[in-house]
Amino acid sequence: MRTADLELDLDVFAGPFDLLLAVVLREEISLLEVELGAIVLAYLEHLDEEGELDLEAATEFLVLIAALLELKSRLMLPTEEEPELDLGPEEAADELLARMLEYRRYKDAGEELSRRFARESPYLYRSAPLPIELRRISLEASRQAYDPDRLGVALGDLLTPPPAVDTSHIRPTVSLERRLDVLRDLLGRSARIDFDDAFGGEDRLTQAVTIFALLELHKKGEATWSQERNFGAIEIRGQRTEDRGQIGAGRARS
């Protein structure tokens, strides 16, 4: 069975896998709503039923699911800081398509090379040492052919350590506990907090972990939060005992 025909039954979509890819490309379904994990599970189930691994199909599946994952992660990341990631879903889809086509080009070229290799392999070449009278090379007859500086340059290159790896994109770990403490501290001092006022200056990872901490507070009934519209301000309210029971869960930006 082709990977494309893998039958899916997800919350937002029922049908074959390649149709899902098509409706995502067409933006009939937001990829954000598609649980990619469920697709992987469906595929694993299918493999189980099949009983044997079709490598070709498995590769195809991996390439497709990886493309979807990359597309989805692009959609989830704000893009203002990284121009090379600053692609709309349309361009991202096109870029992924281009990458898959580039891969196919070399895959097909490789197949052509394999055919050529098989066609040429019956031609055998001689590999025998030269007859003894041709092997003797007099040292005196040889002349300078190389510049000794070539050796110095090569050694100098080997002495040069490689440029330090740029680690500026690796951010320090942000602890959930610490973000919980910060939120509780702020809510202790003020009943309402505007997310952007309080955390807008933090880096992206810190903001994300703070959102996660908010979910935790919401679950424990310590706070609620709301957002009037997409990309609007997020307001956080501390939950006093008398307010509990009135849940107004907000939606985060992503």
Binding site: A66, F117, P131
Partner: protein, 194 residues
Amino acid sequence: MNGSAAELARTVEALLFLAPDPVPVGELIDACEVSEVQIRNALDLLAEELAPGRRGIVLREVAGGWALATDPGAEPAARRLLARPKTPPLTAAQAETLAIVAYLQPVSRPEIARIRGVSSESGVQTLSERGLIEEAGRSRFGAVIYRTTELFERLFGLNGLEDLPDVTKFDPTPEDAAELRERLLEAGEQRAAP
């Protein structure tokens, strides 16, 4: 050396018999101390004498030079005599890696991995061990970069890299690509319709 075209053809045959690698025309000219026209004539004559089916050996133009090889018909007997196992075919991973190196050389391993979408360490290593690719220096980040070897050209019957088929030959036509996209979009519309 002077003498008739036939004599020169004999000398060229002897040189190609001895030389471990394909010999470029320029080196034949220097070794035989004759003109390029004379060498070309001698090679023509030799090609005729060694035309496929006439002798046990044939004349081939590979890897930028001329070489003698055995006639393919002798392969089974040759493998029995030399106890040489049949050359294993290329695996799909090796073929893909080799194609990328052949067409994009010089190219670094990270670049190969980017195109293939998987780590390509073992493919690169096996191709190096088989002598099909070799190091060609380092990128500015210190990564070793690779190119194909003369042996690659010889084993693939290429007289040079320009003998490789045009890589765009393997691309889908713009019409095909557009049609593929169109087909996907149509499938989406059918899905959207009730």
